[in-house]
Amino acid sequence: MSVAMKQTVSGRASHSALAAFFCVAAVVAAGPASAGGEPLPSGTSFLTQSLQAQQSDEATNPGMLWISEGALIWQTPDGASGASCATCHGDAGTSMKGVAASYPKVYGKTGELLNLEKRINLCRTSQQNAEPYAYESDPLLALTAFIARQSLGQPINVQIDDASRAFYERGKAMFYRRQGQLNLSCAQCHEALAGKQLRGDTISYGVGNGYPAYRLEWQTLGSLHRRLRSCSYGVRARRFEFGSPEYLSLELFLAVRAQGVPVETPAIRR
């Protein structure tokens, strides 16, 4: 028994005597905790059946209203260049397929970490000679969601390389750091207690595969950074700006952690 106890302590934190007893099995079946194993469950699995049905039907998913707008923006010339997205990228169904599943990404020329929203604005300023969209504005949400929609069902595939490792480490540190007045880390809820109840809701695994998502609480489409700001507010911690380096790094860490989870934009979330 003492051997078993020691093994448990050296493995994952033990929660009960039962876990200690089955310590060897517990280390093998350490839950859906990424790292080469099963992909984490999507937030959709915690929705009621009717909400899941509403999400998967294009006729009923309210997020599709933004997809329609995004499709329109894709075709509309903008900025001093007089070019639209389609002028260079052609049919989004082919040119943008799988793109969203590989973001956030480090932009080679500047070494900056970019998520899809930032990449779109970079294209607007450097190629279209247009004004960048404000973060969380409807056109940026619409275009981001429209591009992400082209990766529907594709597994998230974000790799860490030399350029992105520092960002990844920063995001990881933020995920495991206790913060705010409630002194909670992201991991305490979204890793240790994921799948359990928090008052009336089920705690998700912190997978951003459905964003920009239509949150019922917002009654509108919103970005992942808006969701992260809600989480920061929830633990009474500092809310970082939309598109801030802190949330970008965290977004990268979450994406790497969500390896293999299919893209579901625009998802419905509670």
Partner: protein, 108 residues
């Protein structure tokens, strides 16, 4: 409703006498008029008031909305396919702005 987009989902082609299900969505904030902003000032009501649908010129559906309807209203209804024709969907909000969607229904 400058930025409003609306979506209508229905089959393109149906048989004569078939029951056709039509699903509509419109983007609208549906501000109730009961809320106040951060300094306590009342936020003016701004809702979709009316949806009318005509089929080949004849009105087949009409709905009055109230403040109780959530943002981005979804409305579904059915009609009987009688002849090939245009369905015209018109939403009007309480500022008088109008969104119009036209769909062709082919009856074989």
């Amino acid at each position: 409703m400058a930025l409003a987009t609306a979506r209508v989902s229905m089959p393109k082609e149906v048989g004569k006498g078939d029951i056709v299900e039509i699903k509509t969505l419109i983007r609208h904030r549906m501000e109730t008029g009961y809320r106040v902003d951060s300094v306590g000032k009342k936020i003016a009501r701004h809702i979709v008031k009316l949806l009318t649908v005509t089929y080949d010129g004849e009105e087949i559906f009409r709905m009055d909305f109230t403040q109780g309807v959530a943002a981005n209203p979804f409305v579904a209804f059915t009609t009987v396919a009688t002849q090939t024709g245009e369905l015209v969907f018109v939403w009007v909000d309480d500022k008088g702005e109008e969104v119009r969607v036209v769909k062709e229904l082919t009856v074989a």
